[in-house]
């Protein structure tokens, strides 16, 4: 009898025991969800990352907190869905820590680059100053050169003036202009005075010295007498000077003669002194 009753009961108890074992121990031995393992790995990688540890310790603590919640959730009731959820939150928190560390690193770069930019700008300013200095030096040299040239020209004029006994010599935009007064011609005449030779002759070596040199001879009169007569006289006087140069071996091609009559007075024709200044021959020697 004992055997008959005991047999099914024993089976019942055995299966119940197995069920309880399966419930309590079987579940406990269940392997951890992959999500939890993964979250832990990701968290530990972040902890080992120097930049994250340094720049985002707060965010990392938040991640650790959620990871612990996930681990506790697994140990206490093994709710795989809740554990998976907390593991996901852990990963997101770790990602936040990485983002904050990235931002800090970028900020540090930006700071560094700002200084670098300052440095480059400083260098540029130094270079600009150097350039300005060089340009100023160049300008100074040019002024110096121009002054030397001017002095040479002035000296040459003084020499010519002395040699030619001319009224006036000046440097204009057209070149050096030599002005001869009554020394060349007798009043109303268009033939050179014999003394004029001494005044004009220095032009001959000057023209010979450089075959590229040219001369323009311009005749002017005062306003006394007929216009046409004055024009004609000034033209013939200019021609006479040109002929003089040709006779002394200067190529006629290099010398132009023009009469302007009463045009372009240099002084008033109302006074004798003024009229005397207006009666003149100008020899233009282009630069």
């Amino acid at each position: 009898m004992k055997k008959q009753i005991g047999h099914p009961l024993r089976w019942l108890l055995l299966s119940l025991g197995l069920f309880i074992i399966a419930m309590s121990w079987g579940c406990g031995a269940r392997p951890e969800p992959i999500a939890l393992e993964q979250a832990r790995t990701i968290y530990h990688q972040a902890v080992e990352d120097q930049a994250v540890m340094q720049y985002a310790p707060g965010a990392l603590r938040d991640a650790e907190h959620v990871l612990k919640q996930a681990e506790q959730a697994w140990q206490s009731d093994q709710n795989a869905v809740e554990v998976g959820h907390l593991a996901y939150l852990t990963e997101q928190r770790v990602a936040i820590a990485h983002a904050r560390a990235d931002n800090k690193a970028a900020e540090a770069d930006w700071q560094h680059l700002t200084q670098e930019r300052e440095q480059v700008l400083r260098e540029a300013r130094i270079q600009e100053a150097e350039q300005a200095r060089r340009e100023a030096e160049q300008a100074r040299r040019e002024v110096e050169e121009a002054r030397t040239k001017y002095e040479e020209a002035t000296k040459q004029i003084a020499m010519l003036q002395e040699q030619l006994g001319i009224l006036q010599a000046k440097v204009t935009s057209r070149g050096t202009v030599l002005t001869f007064g009554s020394v060349l011609f007798a009043p109303g005449k268009a033939t050179l005075r014999s003394e004029a030779f001494h005044n004009l002759y220095p032009l001959v070596p000057y023209m010979r010295e450089d075959p590229r040199r040219t001369a323009t001879i311009e005749g002017y009169t005062d306003n006394v007498g007929a216009d046409k007569g004055n024009l004609d006289l000034s033209q013939r006087r200019a021609e006479a000077v040109r002929e003089f140069l040709i006779k002394n071996g200067i190529d006629g091609e290099r010398v132009v003669a023009r009469g302007y009559g009463e045009a372009s007075p240099v002084a008033s024709n109302d006074t004798e002194t003024g009229r005397q200044q207006n009666r003149r021959v100008e020899i233009v020697l282009p630069k």
Binding site: I5, L13, H85, Q92, N103, L113, R117, E123, A124, Q131
Partner: protein, 129 residues
């Protein structure tokens, strides 16, 4: 045999109790209003930040999870609502932080580029003399 039967019944009763306690715990899950409003706030903040420009994917995830949380709330599925709100909350934060990092990085890159072109300019200027 009788004693054993009673013991078995006690076992079953205790198992049932545990289940009942578990179920009642489920039934009495509080409405996760706190985390939901936190998540709503976080998503709004992220939308106002540079996230739409620099971290749109993360922002989109936060929006979708917030939407799911609100729908679960309407269905009175409070556990799901809490989880979705928690997800939306961190996702919104991540979107914002990623966007901040990306825009800082962009500013640094722009600065680096401007320095390089400045250097080129200086080099050309000094080379041409």
């Amino acid at each position: 045999m009788m004693v054993q039967c009673v013991r078995t019944q006690r076992w079953l009763a205790s198992v049932a109790m545990v289940c009942l306690v578990g179920l009642s715990a489920c039934a009495s899950t509080p409405r996760p209003t706190g985390i939901l409003s936190q998540a709503e706030h976080a998503v709004r903040e992220a939308e106002r930040s540079k996230a739409p420009q620099y971290a749109d994917l993360e922002l989109q995830m936060a929006r979708e999870d917030l939407d799911d949380a609100q729908q679960a709330m309407d269905r009175k599925e409070y556990v799901t609502a809490r989880r979705m709100a928690e997800r939306a909350f961190v996702e919104a934060q991540l979107a914002e932080d990623k966007a901040i990092a990306a825009s800082t990085r962009e500013a640094a890159d722009d600065l680096r580029e401007s320095i390089e072109s400045l250097r080129d300019e200086i080099l050309r200027a000094s080379g041409s003399r």
